[in-house]
Every structure is written in structure tokens, then in C-alpha cells.
């Protein structure tokens, strides 16, 4: 970001919530870059911005869509060959979409394929869908496919199978072609024949970009109604401000300039969160801002290693290295079925069988053999959506017996009363944290217990508390926003009984294995066969029961099965025959030899030289700092400009070179044509940079992988004070909502709840406060819960600064002190004045400083792709208390 000429922060309050990372945009700014902040509130990030654009919470796609429309109609964009080349060769702009596809433009805001939700397993009725799409018609047009286009292959990580037809590559696995190997074909390994059988004819293209069915024309038409006037009507942002943003982005994009974006959970926490991010990606692709220095979209992660916890996931739907969790709802009966369903035949993901088999070897070791499908049957399968929201609904139904809470505090989380009611249904609860926080004391100190509504003696949940060691009291690695692993060392002993999280998991796993050791039941084989040996070499640590973090890293990095002392240096060396063992293919190379922990490397580049800081930590994959960096060179492999040089083709050496590790087949010349009928990387030409995509191109139009439409479309939040000014369709037709009496939603325009409310964090506190409200130095900085509101709304309601205010939604009501400030403003939306208020959600009923739980106001309603909740835009009422 320090290399950017223009930084746009949207969906993030980067200065407040990522202050350390914010040093980089500030470095860019000091060097003359333009800083833009688009946000419902004027925050500490806005204070640093050259342009501040206010928008109503939940109107991001209208704003970004407006930018897309502005860009494709811009005169310079249409005449500068840079944009045209990038668009035509590095994106799927020229690809034709099947004839059955109908855009939202033609159906009042819905896409072709909308139908009633029919998926899910009877045993797990918690998937929450209110509707679903059959995405078949969104696929590429292929020769011979006629009007019925096929679903597209995608590396599906965000799908548990709860939507039928959304398994990686629907038609391929469920309607096998004649080429599908029969039982006569050996099941593999090797799986090369299987991968080859998954090939499809290439999609049709129109390189003149004139065909109305080509992606570019569909995009152009889809966004045509997002005019600057419409942007103002929907978002409340003055047209002039919007146009200033558009101009800044265009002025700072091109062969010698780049813009970057940064977002965080203010883009994700919506009923169409992934679509907001997709919309920004579409815009950045149009502007040529990908795979180049100072370009791209930075997803600002929350916790220190939240990136690490998706790479080596704590997520239910994904296994290590972004492979789908085996699912009972997909055709995943055997390893071969799984691979046929999940593998994408072209591009780098064609190697998935190697990654999967190496992963299974890391799970089950010697017990995993070719004859037992490398232990695939022992691996757990998921039954549906097991993420946070449905788990708490199921808990309320008595379907969940116990819970381990490690670094979470659901007593202050979404629709907090509902979640606390869920906790009361548990038989047992383990809380492992630094402090005895709200979830550990919900049975004693929660508001409903204090008020007498619930009696402690009626709560049967047995609560166990395990005190945690702090970060400086343990060894291990962090993976940051930039996918960079950094090693940290133990600086001190943890006091008393405090133990690390890995100690807890390791000790629990060892004890479970002991409990099942005598069992011969097939279902218990998953415990008995599991390799779980991380005994520390240091006697004192072994005595304390701490596992050896380096041994964990070794398993993650991978080694030769026959010679564990020989580590895997690159994921290119992984095999699908069991000869390699590797828990997470993307981390290959972080520990290429027993004495070479590259995460611990801390050697900066010499100052004043261009470089990618390759010896500072280790960034997956393969230590690349900018992904898809083939984009930083033109078709012939030359840098687009001296100023934005990054990797390029060296004709003398016949290979890709540069400051960074090239994200491309190292010796594939720019002029190399795609090999017809070949699987894997050979299917991509020397000018196709997006090697993880089956067609080597970035997707402007997303033919597969999203469940809520191939193009971003503005929908109102599930709760909104206005009708959708853009389409008849009010909210996402496929959002997730769990209808229960304690989870009621406000209907659009309900005058009892007229104000938009957004919730957020402050620099001074962390999440629900378990790491900050117990610290006197942080507590004194923001001691009390407040609500920010404009002087206009305050005057209307007779509220003065510091007055107590009551905020209510159908779920609950809370009390907070008023902070009246002009940093908030009333919006005019579709001709109507809409007030917006904001509340930080850091408080609870434990700690040095306490306050009401703001999340009592939120609802369990979320996005259908990833089940993120909508905490950034809903409605409420505000009264003087």
C-alpha cells in the first residue's frame, strides 16, 4: 500500500481498527498519494483522508456499481490501450455466457434460476435459506453445449453442499459424460486420468467485446442504471463527492500508476457481503489494479492470526489449504468421488488430488494407504451449515450438548439474548480465555438473571474455566493480512495454571485418543488412526504438557513420508500416491529443512532499493508477496512501466524474474499458447495470469462459486427504512434468516424503527472487550458505552450530549450515553431524510468498565455464501431514557 498512488478505504475504519497497518497508507499519503475514505461516519480514518465520501450504511454496492458505470463510460478509459489490454487478456471480459442466462436487469433485480429452497439434510434443518438459485444458467457458453450452458468449475471453498447444484462442478459430477471412468478404471492414484476426464471444451469468446452475451457487455448493461444521480439517491452521497472519487481513481490508474483498496468487516457483515467485495474486485480489474505494486484489495483481518485460522482453518466448511470439507450432502462417498467433485481440471487446482492425499497422510500417517483411500472414510463429513449462527439456533433447539469456547464471547455476540438462551441449554461449556468474561458468567451476571427473568438455579449448564497463557508466553507463528507467517518466541513463563491454546487442544486430543484406544467400532477409527504426536523435545515444556510448535509447523510444511527428516521445499513436489505428507499445501516451503524456519527470518531489504522484503517472514504461496503478479507485465512480459516494475520475462535467461517470486510457471514464455485438451497449467497460455482460475483469467462475471448471483447487485439490508430505489427486489432473495419469535425482523419502512444503525469498534478496545476492558490503561480511554448521533437527530428527540439514551429493536433494548457530533449526518435517501446512528459494541457486564451489550440489538440474518451476519446495517429506534 505504501507504493499506491491512491488508496481507497471503504468498509473499513483502518486508522482506528488497524492502526499499525495504517502506517502504510500514511506513508503513501506523505509521499503524495490521495487517500479516500467512504464511510457512513466521519472517523479517525476520514480525518486522514483527502476525500471523505459519506454513504448510508448498507449502500456500498450502489456506490461501487456507480464507479463501475462511470469507468466503463470514461473517455480515457476507453482510449488508453492499457485498460483494453488488461481487460481483454487478463479477465474473462470476452467470454460468452450461455443463452439461458437472464440478468437482474431483466427481472427486477433477480437472476435466472431463482427457486424455492429445497436443500439440506432432515437432521440439520438450520441452513437458514429463504430461497436458492440454480446457477446452471450462469455458466460459460461452450461448443456443443447449445443453449443449456454448463456450470463452471471453481475451487469451491465456501460451500458445504447445503444448496443442491452448488457442488464444485455440478454437471460434471452428477451427470457424468461418456468419458467418466467406470469401475473398470483403477481408482487411482495416480489421479491424472481422473483429472483429464473432467476436462470440458473451452468457452466461446468474442475478442471484439461486441457480442451482447459477452461478459463485458453484460457487465456494462448490468451497471448502466448505477448513474451518479442514482448513487446519490441510494447512498445519500452528494453526486459531486462521488464524481471526485471516480476521478481520483481513474487519474491514479494506468500503466505507471496504481490504486489500492482496503476493506474489513464493514464490507463483509451484510446479507450480500461477498458481493460487495466482488464488486470492488470488478472495479479494480477494470482499472488494471491487480497483481501490481500498490494495487489490489487488502482484506484487513481482525485478530493477529485470523488469516492463519482460515489457512489452517477453524472453519467448518473447509480443510487445510482451502479445500472443501468432505460433505454428506455432496457426492463425496469415496476419495475418488470427492476428487471428481472438487478438482478443477485446468489451472493450478488440477493438482488438488496431490494436496488432498498429502493432507490425508498428515492426518492418518502409516495407517493411510492406497488400499483404504488414505483413510478418507475416517475423515469427518459435514451435514450442512455448522457456522456460528445456525449452531446457536440449533443450541436453542437442544441439538448441541457441549461447547468449547476458545477466544470467543458469544454472550455478547449476535442477538445476544438468543445466544445466551442457547448457552443455558448446554450440558457443559468450557471457556478458555484470559479473563472470566461474560460467557463464563452468563448464569450469574447476565441482565436476564439480574432482572430475575431467569433464575440461576434453573440453569443446568456446567461451566469450566481454563485460564489462558498470553502471546509472549508461548512459541508459534502468526499469519497476517498479507498471508505472511511470522514466528514469535516465548519470552516468559505463563503464571499458575495458564496454558496456551495449543496445550489445550493437544491435551484434549491425547485424552480423547486414550478414551477410544480400546474401541474397535469403525466410527472410532478416526481417533485411533489419527497421528497426534507433538511431544516437546524440551524437558520442562514436556513436563508442562506443551506441544512443540516446530513439530506442528513441520507437519503443516510437509515431509517425505519415508524420510521425515527430508522436508518438502515446494508444493510442486507433492504427490498423490502417499509418498509425501503435508497438512497444508499452501504453507509448503516455510520449513524447507529442519533448521530453516523461514517464518523466523527477519532480514529487511537494504533501504532505498526496490524490493519485496522476501527475507522478512514467509508469505504463502511460495513466499510470493503480490499474488497474480504476472499482471505486472504486459502481454510480451515487459513491465507496464519502469515505475510499476515488479516481475518480468527475461529473454536471455528464458524465465520470469523480478523483485518478487513470480506467480507463474517460471519458464513459460509469454508467447506460449494454451495446449488444447491438456489439463492443469498447460491449459493456460503465457498471457493468462490468474493461474488458480480454470481459464487463467480474473472473473468480472462469476459463472460459478457464488450462490447469490454472478454479478453484484444492490439490495437493501434485511432491515431498511427505505424501499430499494434500484429494483423491485428489496433484499437479497437468497439471504439466510432464522425465523423465531426471539429473532424478529423489522419490515421495510416500519415507522416504529426509523433509524439506520451501524455497529463498530474503537481503537481503544478490542472486540467484546475481553482483552481491553480488564486493562486500566485502555479502560480509562473509552470508559463508557455511547451512541453517536447527529445534532439534527438529537434536537428532534430532545437529546443532549451525555444524556442517557434508550436504543431499541424488536430483539432487545439497551441504554447508552449520547455523544452528539457533527461527524454523523442525516442522509437524504430517495427524497426522504434518514437518520443514522452508530454504536461501538465493546461493552458487557464484566470487567473494569461495563456497559450494555449492543449486540442484543442485532438479528441472526446473514449472507448465503459464508453465513456472515448483518451487523453493519439494520434499523432501530432512539429515545431519551
Amino acid at each position: 500500500m505504501a507504493d499506491s498512488d491512491c488508496v481507497m478505504v471503504m468498509g473499513s475504519n483502518m486508522a482506528e481498527n488497524h492502526p499499525v497497518a495504517f502506517r502504510w497508507p500514511m506513508k503513501a499519503k506523505v509521499n503524495g498519494a490521495t487517500l479516500i475514505h467512504v464511510d457512513p461516519r466521519f472517523t479517525r480514518t476520514s480525518a486522514m483522508a483527502d476525500i471523505y465520501a459519506p454513504i448510508r450504511a448498507g449502500s456500498d454496492i450502489a456506490f461501487l456499481g456507480g464507479l463501475i458505470n462511470h469507468v466503463v463510460n470514461d473517455q480515457r478509459w476507453n482510449s488508453d490501450p492499457f485498460f483494453k489490454t488488461f481487460l481483454l487478456h487478463y479477465t474473462n471480459a470476452a467470454t460468452l455466457i450461455g443463452d439461458d442466462y437472464k440478468d437482474a436487469e431483466d427481472a427486477d433485480g433477480v437472476f435466472s434460476g431463482l427457486m424455492e429452497y429445497k436443500g439440506g439434510a432432515p437432521a440439520w434443518p438450520y441452513n437458514g435459506f429463504v430461497g436458492q438459485y440454480d446457477p446452471k444458467s450462469w455458466g460459460y457458453k461452450r461448443p456443443g453445449s447449445g443453449s443449456s450452458a454448463q456450470g463452471e468449475a471453481a475451487a469451491n471453498t465456501a460451500r458445504s453442499g447445503e444448496v443442491p447444484g452448488h457442488t464444485g462442478e455440478g454437471p460434471k459430477s452428477h451427470a457424468p459424460s461418456g468419458k467418466e471412468p467406470t469401475s473398470a478404471t483403477p481408482g487411482g492414484p495416480p489421479f491424472d486420468a481422473l483429472v483429464k476426464s473432467l476436462l470440458k471444451p473451452p468457452a466461446e469468446k468474442d475478442e471484439t467485446l461486441q457480442n451482447p452475451r459477452c461478459v463485458f457487455q453484460l457487465v456494462k448493461r448490468h451497471f448502466a442504471r448505477y448513474t451518479p444521480e442514482m448513487v446519490e439517491r441510494v447512498t445519500g452521497c452528494p453526486k459531486e463527492t462521488f464524481l471526485k472519487v471516480a476521478k481520483a481513481l481513474l487519474d491514479h490508474s494506468g500503466p505507471d500508476k496504481t490504486c489500492s483498496f482496503a476493506y474489513a468487516v464493514a464490507w463483509t457483515q451484510h446479507t450480500n457481503g461477498p458481493q460487495v467485495i466482488g464488486c470492488a474486485a470488478l472495479l479494480q480489474l477494470l482499472l488494471g489494479n491487480f497483481g501490481r505494486p500498490g494495487a489490489g484489495i487488502m482484506a484487513l483481518r481482525g485478530h493477529a492470526s485470523i488469516q492463519g485460522s482460515t489457512d489452517i482453518p477453524t472453519l467448518y466448511h473447509s480443510i487445510h489449504g482451502y479445500m472443501s470439507a468432505p460433505s454428506a450432502l455432496k457426492k463425496h462417498d469415496t476419495l475418488r468421488d470427492y476428487l471428481a467433485d472438487e478438482t478443477v481440471a485446468t489451472g493450478y487446482w488440477a493438482n488438488e488430488p496431490k494436496f488432498m492425499v498429502s493432507y490425508l497422510k498428515s492426518m492418518y500417517g502409516e495407517a493411510a494407504t492406497r488400499d483404504n483411500q488414505f483413510g478418507y472414510d475416517w475423515h469427518p463429513k459435514i451435514l450442512g451449515d455448522h457456522s456460528h449462527l445456525p449452531m446457536f439456533v440449533a443450541m436453542n433447539d437442544g441439538k448441541v450438548k457441549g461447547m468449547l469456547l476458545i477466544g470467543q464471547n458469544p454472550a455478547t455476540s449476535l442477538n445476544a439474548r438468543l445466544e445466551r438462551a442457547g448457552l443455558r441449554k448446554l450440558e457443559w461449556l468450557v471457556v478458555k480465555d484470559n479473563w472470566v468474561h461474560e460467557s463464563a458468567t452468563f448464569w450469574r451476571n447476565a441482565p436476564e438473571v439480574k432482572s430475575g427473568e431467569v433464575k440461576t438455579q434453573d440453569i443446568k449448564t456446567e461451566v469450566f474455566f481454563f485460564p489462558s497463557a498470553q502471546i509472549a508466553e508461548m512459541e508459534g507463528s502468526f499469519t497476517n493480512t498479507q498471508r505472511m507467517l511470522q514466528w514469535h518466541y516465548k519470552a516468559d513463563e505463563a503464571p499458575g495454571d495458564c496454558r496456551s491454546d495449543s496445550w489445550f487442544s493437544y491435551q484434549l486430543g491425547k485424552r480423547l485418543k486414550r478414551l477410544y484406544a480400546e474401541s474397535t467400532a469403525p466410527r472410532d477409527a478416526c481417533f485411533n488412526r489419527l497421528v497426534f504426536d507433538y511431544e516437546h523435545d524440551d524437558a520442562a515444556e514436556r513436563q508442562r504438557g506443551e506441544p512443540d510448535a516446530t513439530k506442528l509447523l513441520k507437519e503443516i510444511n510437509g515431509f517425505m513420508t519415508d524420510d521425515p527428516g527430508k522436508h518438502i521445499a515446494s508444493f510442486g513436489d507433492l504427490k498423490d500416491d502417499g509418498s509425501t505428507t503435508c497438512a497444508s499445501w499452501i504453507y509448503c516451503g516455510v520449513l524447507p529443512a529442519p533448521d530453516q524456519n523461514r517464518a523466523a527470518s527477519k532480514r529487511p531489504d537494504p533501504p532505498g532499493q526496490p524490493g519485496a522484503q522476501l527475507n522478512w517472514g514467509y508469505a504463502w504461496p511460495a513466499n510470493r508477496r503480490i499474488m497474480y503478479n504476472r499482471c505486472s507485465a504486459d502481454l510480451a512480459g515487459r513491465p507496464w512501466s519502469e515505475r510499476k516494475k515488479w516481475v518480468w520475462w527475461d529473454e536471455a535467461q528464458k524465465k520470469w524474474v523480478g523483485y518478487d517470486v513470480p506467480d507463474f510457471a517460471t519458464t513459460k514464455a509469454p508467447g506460449t499458447p494454451a495446449k488444447a485438451g491438456a489439463p492443469g497449467m498447460d491449459a493456460l497460455s503465457g498471457t493468462e495470469p490468474f493461474i488458480m482460475k480454470p481459464d487463467g483469467r480474473a472473473w468480472l462475471f462469476v459463472p460459478s462459486g457464488l450462490v447469490d448471483g454472478p454479478l453484484p447487485t444492490h439490495y437493501e439490508p434485511a432491515e431498511s427504512p427505505v424501499r430499494n430505489p434500484l429494483y423491485k427486489q428489496q433484499a437479497s432473495p437468497v439471504l439466510k434468516y432464522w425465523k423465531r419469535p426471539d429473532n424478529e425482523l423489522v419490515q421495510p419502512g416500519d415507522s416504529r424503527f426509523p433509524h439506520v444503525i451501524t455497529t463498530y469498534r474503537l481503537t481503544e478496545h478490542y472486540l467484546a472487550g475481553a482483552m481491553s476492558r480488564w486493562n486500566p490503561w485502555l479502560a480509562e480511554l473509552q470508559p463508557e458505552l455511547f451512541i453517536e448521533l447527529s445534532p439534527e437527530l438529537a434536537a428532534e428527540k430532545g437529546i443532549k450530549n451525555l444524556d442517557w439514551v434508550r436504543i431499541s429493536t424488536p430483539r432487545s433494548r439497551v441504554r447508552a450515553k449520547a455523544l452528539v457530533t457533527r461527524r454523523l449526518r442525516p442522509f437524504t435517501i430517495d427524497g426522504k431524510t434518514v437518520h443514522q446512528v452508530g454504536m461501538p459494541w465493546h461493552w458487557g457486564y464484566e470487567g473494569i468498565v461495563t456497559g450494555d451489550v449492543v449486540n442484543e440489538l442485532t438479528a441472526l440474518v446473514g449472507d448465503p455464501n459464508v453465513t456472515i451476519h448483518e451487523g453493519k446495517a439494520f434499523v432501530c429506534n432512539v429515545e431519551k431514557a
Binding site: 479517525r44 480511554l781 463508557e784 450530549n801 451525555l802 461527524r823 468498565v849
Partner: protein, 259 residues
């Protein structure tokens, strides 16, 4: 004496994160207001309110918006002891507790301070106050203990955006002048340095880049040494004496005239 060391605080890149406040408190082991159980001030995001004996760094938040929001700024500024070349506190201290160090910084020695409060009144910036934990006057030491072992002060070390810069004052002044020039070039013509000039108390070893009048940041536009006010004060004292004398005379007369 080693070369003069100080702070250059560039308020245009301050993000108001208060990392400086916390780093200062952690290093210097200063207590929190009421053990942390503070109250909301209602003044923007400023809840520690001012520099005092337990707040040696303080971030000020100034909201400037026109009623229609067509113009708006949120000025953020991390304030601290100015380590004046001509330091009023040092001048008035009766016990010699306040010293000028080899780094040309001004430090109160807690074990010599008798808590007389003279320095509190003498500081034109309102920097000093009694730390209730020690009962003595306290303020920023420019991390004298860290400087002695070659470490930079805790606040500048923690500052994520390099708003707080630490170094030899001569270097900082060059850096600051270049920064002002750059800001002027970028159109921020309101940028200027506060306290870099020797005219202000001989120069402040901790000086600032501001974009509005000093008063907006609660800084005095023309801070004076307490001795500078001595002449007028002397006359005032004389006048006061005369008034008291006259009053006494009147009072005697009144008493005398009583029946």
C-alpha cells in the same frame, strides 16, 4: 552535554490511536484515572482530558465541522511536555528537583520534589501536576531512563504513523521544515511549526506541526517565562501592598469612629 534531543510531533499524520498515551503509562508505570473506571467526557473521543501527573502524553480531538458538513476536519494532536530551552518550571523549583539533563531535556526528580506546586503554576503549557500515587509533581521525562541506555522514548517507539518523531533537535527541525514545505506544495498552506523557533522560550525541544491557530489545540499563542511577568507582578505586589495598607487605615479609622 550530548546533543539536544527532543520530539517533533507532526499532527497531520496523527490518527488519534492513543498508543503513545498507553506506551507512556506502561513504561513509566503510571496509574489510570480511578483504576480505569473513568467517566465519559462527552468531548469527542478525549476521555483523559488533559496532561497531568498521571497523563504525560495526551491526545487532543478537535472537531471542526460547518453545520451543513460542507467543510469538516477532525484535528488530532498528541500533546506532551515541551522541554523548553528556557523552562519556567526549572526556574521556580525551590528544591532543585527539576534539572536539565545531558540531553537538554527537563526532568523532575521525584525523590527531591517536595510537592510545593510552584512548577505547576510556572508552566505556561499546563503540563505538570501532582501524581497522587507519589504526591510529587510529575510530567514527561522524555524517557530519561531509556535515553540513558540508547533507547528512544516509549511514545515515539509506539507511534504507528511516525506522527511522533524522536531525535536530535537540530535534525528534527530540518525534517520538520521539509515537511512543512512539502505540505505547502501539496496545498496544505495552513501548515506551520509551533515552538521550533528560538523566539518561543528559547525554542521548544518538543515542537509541533499544526494546521490551525495554537489556541485551537489548547496551546498558548505566546507562552512566557514566569520571570517575564515579574516586572508587572512586582508593580502589582506593590499596588496590592498599598491597597492593603489603605484598607487597614480605613479599617482603623472606622473602628476609631465607633461610638
Amino acid at each position: 552535554m550530548a546533543q539536544a534531543m527532543g520530539f517533533f510531533t507532526d499532527t497531520t499524520v496523527c490518527i488519534g490511536c492513543k498508543a503513545c498515551e498507553v506506551a507512556c503509562k506502561e513504561w513509566n508505570q503510571l496509574p489510570a484515572t480511578n483504576g480505569g473506571a473513568n467517566t465519559l467526557s462527552g468531548d469527542s473521543y478525549d476521555n483523559t482530558r488533559r496532561l497531568d501527573g498521571i497523563h504525560w502524553r495526551h491526545v487532543r480531538f478537535v472537531e471542526q465541522f460547518t453545520p451543513d458538513r460542507s467543510q469538516g476536519r477532525w484535528l488530532l494532536m498528541s500533546d506532551v511536555c515541551k522541554h523548553c530551552v528556557q523552562a519556567g518550571c526549572l526556574e521556580v523549583c525551590p528544591t532543585g528537583a527539576i534539572i536539565r539533563t545531558e540531553f537538554d531535556t527537563v526532568v523532575i526528580q521525584s525523590d527531591v520534589c517536595n510537592g510545593c506546586r510552584d512548577c505547576i503554576g510556572a508552566c505556561p503549557f499546563g503540563v505538570i501536576d501532582i501524581n497522587p500515587a507519589s504526591g510529587t509533581a510529575q510530567k514527561c521525562t522524555l524517557c530519561y531512563d531509556r535515553l540513558q541506555v540508547g533507547l528512544e522514548p516509549a511514545c515515539s517507539k509506539a507511534c504507528p504513523t511516525d506522527s511522533i518523531n524522536f531525535g536530535p533537535v537540530a535534525d528534527l527541525k530540518k525534517m520538520a521544515e521539509a515537511r512543512v514545505g512539502r505540505l505547502h506544495g501539496q496545498g496544505e498552506t495552513r501548515a506551520y511549526l509551533y515552538g521550533a523557533d528560538e523566539k518561543m522560550l528559547g525554542g521548544l525541544n518538543s515542537f509541533f506541526l499544526l494546521v490551525d491557530k495554537p489556541e485551537v489545540y489548547h496551546l498558548p499563542p505566546d507562552p512566557k517565562m514566569p520571570t517575564r511577568r515579574l516586572k508587572s507582578s512586582t508593580w502589582l505586589s506593590v499596588l496590592g501592598g498599598v491597597v492593603v495598607g489603605l484598607a487597614g487605615l480605613v479599617s482603623f479609622r472606622t473602628r476609631g469612629s465607633r461610638p
